[in-house]
């Protein structure tokens, strides 16, 4: 476990060594800040049947920024080690392959969580200024952030897998961006294709991150997305682990 934490702490620090971390942080704060501002200005103009928190987590702006951050966070994880050759000193130290894979995944996850922390402040500021709650209940906040965490874990594990496949970071970014975007739009298919059967529509609905976010950010904690994303994350990390061994042996 000590070795896992040694690896994990290096992974987290590594984000802040490179300018990418700061660029992603600034970009993300900017987009989410602008989003929050727009949602409130919109609500000022007319009455709406949802809370600020729901509006924030369900806007187009939000999703646009959301799918873009995963390739940026994950592309360097393994690709850079293969490119620089640092994989060799790393794997000739007495560490297990799964320790390396998990430390990279959880390092990315922590950075992802750090990205979201400032958004909590938006709601605090909103409440302080307007003396109105940002959401209908605490559960709505929890649901919204839980969905972010779950979806984040799954998309980050896809990013890990993409990064282990290549030594070129750009290629890794394109693979993960394409996969994540496709998966994301799978849930939108039912809005575009109107002549599909209702059972297909229902099936696609299970994969629709937008619908799930709608539910969870209202404060209805549905266990289906929890199971779906946790199990998918484990599957992707297993793939990553396998591909990692396979790549390393063929270097």
């Amino acid at each position: 476990m000590t070795k896992f934490f040694t690896l994990f702490s290096r992974e987290v620090r590594a984000y802040f060594y490179s300018p990418i971390a700061y660029i992603v942080l600034v970009f993300f704060l900017l987009v989410s800040g602008v989003d929050f501002y727009f949602q409130i200005s919109f609500m000022n103009q007319r009455p709406v049947p949802y809370s600020v928190e729901e509006a924030f987590f369900n806007s187009v702006f939000f999703w646009f920024a959301f799918v873009l951050i995963f390739p940026l966070i994950t592309m360097r994880l393994f690709a850079e080690e293969f490119k620089l050759g640092t994989i060799e000193p790393l794997m000739t130290a007495p560490v297990r392959d799964w320790q390396v894979v998990l430390s990279k995944f959880f390092g990315a996850l922590l950075f992802y969580v750090i990205l979201w922390i400032p958004t909590v402040l938006y709601f605090v500021i909103f409440q302080t200024i307007t003396h109105q709650p940002g959401a209908n209940s605490i559960g709505a906040y929890l649901g919204g952030y839980l969905m972010l965490l779950l979806l984040g874990m799954f998309y980050l594990s896809i990013g890990c897998f993409a990064s282990v496949l290549t030594k070129n970071q750009i290629v890794a970014a394109i693979i993960s961006f394409a996969t994540i975007t496709l998966l994301f739009f799978l849930g939108l298919v039912s809005f575009i294709l109107l002549d599909i059967s209702s059972s297909t529509r229902q099936l696609l609905g299970y994969f629709s991150a937008i619908e799930q976010m709608g539910t969870l950010s209202r404060g209805e904690i549905d266990t289906r997305p929890i199971i779906l994303y946790l199990s998918m994350t484990i599957v992707m990390l297993t793939f990553t682990y396998q591909a990692f061994q396979w790549r390393k042996w063929r270097l």
Binding site: L7, A14, T86, P94, K248
Partner: protein, 311 residues
Amino acid sequence: MIKVENLTKRFAGQTAIDNLNFEVGKGEIMGFLGPNGAGKSTTMRILSSFMPPTSGRASVAGFDTFEKSLQARAHLGYMAENVPLYNDMRVTEYLDYRAALKGVAHRRIKERVGDVKELCGLKDVEKKLIGALSKGYRQRVGLADALVHEPDLLILDEPTSGLDPNQIRQVRDLIKNLGRQHTILLSTHILPEVEMTCSRVIIINKGRIEACDTPENLLNKMRTATGVVLEAKTGADDGAEELKKIAGVKDVGLTTDGDWQIFSLRAEADADVRAEVFRLASERRWTVRELSRRKATLEDVFVEITHPDEV
């Protein structure tokens, strides 16, 4: 310390190493020679548990590098070719991280990192970013990393490549000193280095071991073991014919430099024919301006073994 049995590694239809067998005893400094692509790095990567062999076994300090890989790795310090390092870390920070990763006890990390920085001459650059270091310093960081957990065995893949002559000398002295406490397996292209530092040498070519012996024995076994050069004016005599009659001389080559004739004699491995040559020359009243013995170097051995047609 190292035991390699029938080790074979194939990559996509290509055999990188083919049925290697060798052992390295405790305290030895073993030189690993071979042309580029001979399989040196592959062998070292298998020994350091980086990749598994296709067949055969390798063990380090009694631990199989595949089945007991963690224990094997804990006993060895490995420095990869071209010394890959994280460019965005600082020297001390990197060594602290590596020490922790290799299981050095938390309270001993500071002391161990201090020791290896001292030993490898890194005190001046300890706060610098690794990316800003010169090649020579990077090499030393790699060596310090290999040493930080006090391994029994060091595996160094071309530790002196790309260094200037002064740096090569420093690294060589360092390796020689390390050889007192550690077993070392090092690969290199710089042959004088091997002659000076290694107690035994393995020459590998196209994935096979061609020779494995002490540098002295390798030199003695060579076809071109010792040569004698005689530069003389022999007057009317046919110098080459006369020299061939001397016992122990196998062959005489002749070139000329103006009036001077330059004979190059190849002798039996252990024969020193210089005294006989002198006696002959003085008997026949040849004018001699040089009589010398050319000792074969490991370079000759290397060329002879790896490119027999060019000798």
